[in-house]
């Protein structure tokens, strides 16, 4: 049961985006469509899980003084792998995520989990932690992406979900930078209200 807890905490209770406010740059930058959100979320999940595994494996081998550089090397390697693989097999998504794939390296969620969890735990919990956090991150991205895509383009995952009149002149600001910030702020406010209501 404890393992389930490790896995599920990232969804709501310790959601990296909404609760811990980590990894904000990709959260806002790539969520102008749900497709991008999923792509980014899964890429980050992959890096997070793999680096958690490796780090929990080698944690006893590396001196603590240089652990951060070591973590960064591990993470950067996986990021590069994701980068290359996505470029090869999903070139469209790779193109629209652009700069933000290499920037997964500096996503504080990943280094944060490596430092706070994987470097202190065994492999299995680390995998679950990475998967859970990664999926929580993906979930957050998809939520924001959905709102932005529906409002800003009248579509969801590329499918029309709003009346045609709306799709013709949607509330564009939602997929622009200002809309991203404001929607994020309002969502966090909403979560605060819900949490307080509990």
């Amino acid at each position: 049961m404890n393992l389930w807890k490790e896995f599920s905490k990232g969804f709501v209770k310790e959601n990296p985006v909404f609760i811990m406010a980590l990894g904000l740059c990709p959260t806002l930058a790539v969520t102008s469509s749900v497709t991008n959100a999923i792509g980014m979320g899964l890429a980050a999940t992959f890096v997070l899980t793999c680096s958690n595994v490796i780090i929990s494996l080698i944690k006893d081998l590396i001196p603590s003084k240089i652990r951060i550089p070591c973590f960064i090397v591990v993470i950067a390697s996986f990021v590069t792998i994701v980068d290359l693989v996505m470029n090869a097999y999903t070139p469209e998504v790779h193109k629209s995520l652009g700069l933000f794939i290499p920037l997964i390296v500096v996503n504080c969620i990943i280094l944060g989990r490596a430092e706070a969890f994987a470097s202190k735990n065994k492999v299995l919990p680390s995998i679950l932690d990475g998967l859970g956090m990664g999926l929580g991150f993906t979930l957050a991205l998809v939520v924001i992406g959905s709102i932005r895509e529906v409002l800003g383009a009248g579509q969801w995952l590329g499918m029309n979900v709003m009346p045609l009149a709306y799709i013709k002149s949607p509330m564009l600001v939602a997929i622009l930078a200002p809309g991203a910030f404001i929607i994020m702020g309002l969502l966090m406010g909403l979560i605060n209200i819900v949490n307080k209501g509990k």
Binding site: V73, V74, A76, S77, L84, V85, A88, Y89
Partner: protein, 200 residues
Amino acid sequence: MNYFVKLGLVLLLITAIASGILAFVNGLTSEKIKANKLVAEQEARKEVLSEASRFEKQTVTLPAVETEPNPLKNKVEAGPRQFIYYLGYNDESAIVGYTFVASQYGYSSEVKTMVGVNLDMSIARIKVIEQSETPGLGANAATADFQGRFVDMNQEQLQVDKDGGAIKSLTGATITSRAVTNSIAEGMKILADAMTEEGK
């Protein structure tokens, strides 16, 4: 001191392993990435010149134009400019038209357009392949509606309506419209010159 050497060695080892793995992955994917690019271009060409099934690269050397280099960017190799276009062949190996990529800076980005040209030097179709203009305004250049406005246009008509041409510009985005139109017009001119030269 020994301790620090050890630290360095550990880090070096990890980096080396990582580099090795990455080199391996890179080897696996690099061909695919290159191929992707070619395929994408090929597909865009097919889209604007649907009758063609095979394309052949042609290069026109243009007289060098004195342009002031941007002192903050890497130097582009000097020398004559090259204009690249493709001859489109159908299954019977007959030429059915030409394609080229037109490019010009628009409102906030370089707008690249793939242009398909019929043998009579009218436009078959165009496709905006790269831009990051303002969504809702300039970005509408990538819509089928706007791209459709170019079909069958000839070189004389290639100007936006505000400049007296036949291309109806996008609402509120004259600059982008102008960039697309003018870049195509320029390419058409070079292409036409190249054709007449060949004809001689």
